[in-house]
């Protein structure tokens, strides 16, 4: 067992309140096998989990889903989280948020709203979100969010089908008076894994996106902060996944499983504890899934002797599982991985599939 004293307390918790969602985005990070509504944790259990999280050292609570506004008790959950001392961030499509509900959320102490963007016009957004009329409702709700004075982050998920809209999306964030924007090229986990052929950006698109973001960051300094997730498959070095496995954040699923990252259930050798059975602190410090990839003992070559291991921790475990078939392998994105060339060929082939259709997420 890893001694508790060598493990830092977590800073952030992602609470996936529900898998229900009015949208059906084909890149949804939720698992392809989703829990049914009946198995969602009830209000009191969540409030206890928030209290435990704050005592454990969590500062930032991300309320997500599915669509968190699909929970009827969202206002009570926000109020309870604030009472526990947590910074509350609502990650939402804004569908289901009314002016009245926003006023209640404001009263409950909601700190920040992160609004998802599927496209910059109704044609694109409604097609990607799989929900006709969704874009119009989202734009209306965005106005209410800004009117209510919530600090806003616009989160644009981009891929081969909508990357040409990136400059418009950045202008949209400025027009909405968003303080922050996240530009994330689709991460291929969850439902996105079923849509690699339809969504993989081309190498040229990936490079263009990086150029656009760099230019916008410079031009909009002091107006809009842009966080950027570059195209993974086209990179030479892997992402610093989760800021280090079991060091920074944790994720609680709608039915109470505690995961080191939202895609961790794709690693079949891991077993996860549930907040209904164990204290959050015991799960964080002693849970087998959290300890599986802490530290460096689990690493293989080329990671084991690589200087970058302290920078990126060998990259994404779920991606190693998905591409290399071994969750302890070097992330195949890495230029030092024996699979890197295969990854490059794969990305190029996937990004030129002209016939692939979108596979939409299905709600439980």
């Amino acid at each position: 067992m890893v001694p508790r004293t060598s493990i830092p307390a977590p800073i952030a918790m992602l609470a996936e309140l529900t898998y229900r969602c009015p949208l059906s985005c084909p890149y949804c990070s939720n698992p392809v096998e989703m829990a049914k509504k009946e198995s969602e944790l009830d209000t009191d259990v969540w409030l206890d989990v928030f209290e435990q999280a704050a005592k454990l050292g969590v500062l930032q609570l991300h309320l997500s889903g599915g669509e968190p506004a699909s929970r009827r008790d969202l206002v009570a959950l926000v109020a309870g989280a604030r009472k526990s001392g947590l910074y509350t961030n609502l990650i939402t499509s804004a569908i289901g948020l009314t002016q009245r509900r926003l006023a209640e959320l404001e009263q409950a102490g909601l700190d920040h709203v992160q609004l998802s963007l599927q496209g910059t016009d109704a044609g694109m957004a409604d097609r990607i979100g799989g929900y006709k009329g969704g874009f119009a409702r989202k734009m209306q709700a965005a106005e209410w969010i800004v009117e209510a004075g919530f600090p806003l982050t616009l989160n644009a998920v981009v891929h081969r089908q909508n990357l040409h809209q990136l400059p418009d999306a950045i202008e949209m964030a400025v027009a909405m008076k968003a303080r922050r924007m996240e530009v994330a090229i689709v991460q291929f986990h969850g439902w996105a894994m079923l849509n690699r052929e339809a969504m993989m950006p081309t190498r040229e698109q990936a490079a263009e996106a990086s150029r656009i973001v760099a230019e916008a960051r410079e031009r909009l300094k002091g107006t809009l902060v842009i966080d950027y997730v570059p195209a993974d498959y086209h990179s030479d070095y892997p992402k610093r996944c989760m800021g280090g496995w079991g060091t920074t954040g944790l994720n609680v699923t709608p039915d109470g499983l505690v995961l080191p990252c939202h895609a961790a259930q794709t690693i079949p050798t891991l077993e996860f504890d549930n907040v209904s059975d164990k204290r959050l602190a015991d799960i964080w410090y002693d849970g087998s899934a959290f300890n599986a990839y802490r530290g460096e003992d689990w690493m293989q070559e080329p990671c084991k002797s690589c200087d970058r291991r302290k920078l990126d921790f060998g990259g994404c475990r779920c991606q190693a599982m998905a591409i290399a078939g071994d969750p302890a392998a070097t992330d195949p994105v890495c230029i030092k991985s024996p699979l890197h060339d295969k990854m490059t060929e794969l990305a190029d082939a996937l990004s030129h599939d002209e016939t692939a259709e979108l596979v939409y997420r299905k709600s439980p």
């Binding site: 500062l59 700190d111 920040h112 992160q114 303080r179 107006t223």
Partner: protein
Amino acid sequence: MTQIANDAIPVIPRGVRLHKDTVRDLWVLLAPERTINLDPIGLAILNEIDGQRNFGEVVARLADAYSAPVDQITGDVAEFLTGLSDRRILELT
């Protein structure tokens, strides 16, 4: 060197707040998807910001409290506040 006009008023905007992290025994600034650990100097600066005092007054109070030269304090405070302002964690009005 970073400069801020003496009559500019630093304001901590909605969605940003000081928080005592009792687990790690330190003060932090909580902001949208950012947590900034504060050293005693950063905390002292933020404690002088009340949305009313202008930059010159904040500097004068800190120079007085720490018996330090105004020039030196001006540079340090301007650098700290500009760093926050560039990240939209502080507003200068």
